[in-house]
């Protein structure tokens, strides 16, 4: 039997909950800012089509999201929160590597490193394609 010690479970639980909490706060803040800047969103119908069609304009690169968020644009702040959410499982995998290193479990250091490499690869592939 190789049950994980409790502190590992707790650490990973904190990483997941922390990442999700932070990203939700950022997403909700972005939504509030969006509606505060666009009072017409409380009434008008045409605005919706422009926001929810494939052609809708919102940042789709990490650089554009950060730039937009710095300028205080609501949609970019929402996207920043969504990126943080995507990064949460990646952070969990990174923490798992550290845990297996501490436990001197070489096989699982390798296994976890492969998973992290694949995750980072997908982001690189997305950015280049």
């Amino acid at each position: 039997m190789s049950d994980e010690p409790r502190w590992v479970d707790r650490l990973i639980s904190y990483v997941l909950r922390g990442g999700v909490t932070i990203s939700v706060i950022v997403v909700l803040a972005g939504l509030i800012i969006t509606f505060a800047h666009h009072r017409e969103y409380f009434r008008s119908r045409p605005a919706l089509g422009a926001l929810t069609n494939p052609g809708a304009s919102y940042p789709s690169t990490i650089g554009a999201v950060i730039e937009g968020a710095r300028e205080g644009r609501g949609q970019a702040i929402v996207s920043l929160g969504l990126l943080l959410l995507i990064a949460t499982p990646v952070a969990r995998v990174a923490v798992s590597i550290a845990v297996f290193v501490i436990e001197r479990d070489r096989l699982y250091v390798v296994i976890t490193a492969v998973v992290l490499a694949l995750l980072l690869l997908s982001f690189v592939l997305g950015a280049s394609g």
């Binding site: 909950r17 939700v24 809708a56 789709s60 995507i86 690869l121």
Partner: protein, 277 residues
């Protein structure tokens, strides 16, 4: 519908989807995508993009609770995530090439088969041969059954079959923007012989990583619309939180039966959509 009402409607639908998804290990995606496209007439590509985000939210939110309770098996998850992430990248790429109709039909068939296989097994605790690979991976562990308060030890088998099935599950996830817990749970439960509660918890745990592997591609393709994905993520999270509170109190048997019914309904829905186009 004004943008404000739209956001609130999407959030409510997502809340229900997240609740069901976390309860069944399905992930919210299976319910959110049909709801967004059929009820709210959102472009399917944007629905899938928002769904991927909701899948990450569900998994991470509920997994935090499962891990704390010692239900999720971290080693099984890490090992099998090699398969799911490879599959997710493959699936996200294939999404642009393969016809969606074919995928709906294939998915419906796989789901239907999984449901039937789960009904057939029920109480058979057959002996499984533990191969050298599986032994080397040290996957065995134990969990505390909440009902009896006893620690239940288990030793998974067939790690390589599990890994292959996870590659398939990851591909489906990347293609359709769902967590594909419906494929992950049977792969662990039926093929590897893990207890159903451990399978469900570990599946939830892996789904976030699987979805993150394809989310990068969807994001840079411009298929994650903040106006849709934000209420979906927030709603699903709230629902998943409620679901994770209840799962520990459902007996494994009733969980299994509910699971089978949901699988059958969803598989028929998938088939119909594929046939009608």
């Amino acid at each position: 519908m004004t943008p404000l009402l739209f956001v609130l409607t999407v959030a409510l639908v997502s809340l229900l989807a997240g609740f069901l998804g976390s309860l069944l290990g399905l992930g919210g995606g299976m319910i959110v995508v049909p709801a967004l496209t059929l009820l709210l007439h959102i472009d399917i590509r944007l629905a899938i993009g928002a769904s991927i985000i909701s899948v990450i939210a569900t998994s991470s939110g509920a997994a935090a609770a499962y891990v704390r309770d010692g239900l999720a098996n971290l080693r099984v998850a890490m090992f099998l995530e090699i398969g799911t992430t490879l599959g997710a990248i493959t699936g996200a790429y294939l999404a642009g090439i393969v016809h969606q109709r074919f995928l709906y039909i294939l998915f419906g068939l796989v789901l239907g088969y999984s449901a039937m296989a789960m009904l057939r097994r029920r109480r058979v605790a057959e002996e499984r041969e533990i191969g050298p690979l599986t032994m080397r991976l040290k996957l065995g562990a134990s969990y505390v059954d909440e009902k009896s308060g006893q620690a239940i030890a288990y030793q998974p088998a067939h790690a390589s079959i599990g890994l292959f099935l996870m590659y398939i599950a990851g591909s489906v996830s990347g293609l359709l923007g769902i967590g594909s817990g419906a494929l992950k749970v049977p792969a662990m439960d039926l093929a590897m012989g893990l207890p159903i509660k451990v399978s469900t918890a570990t599946s939830n745990f892996m789904i976030g990583v699987t979805a993150a592997a394809s989310a990068g591609l969807y994001f840079t393709r411009g298929q994650i619309d903040p106006f849709i994905a934000a209420p979906v993520a927030a709603g699903v999270l709230a629902g998943a939180f409620l679901g994770s509170r209840i799962l520990g109190r459902v007996t494994s048997r009733s969980l299994r039966v509910t699971f089978v019914i949901v699988l059958v309904v969803v598989s028929l829905q998938m088939l119909l959509k594929g046939v009608r186009g």
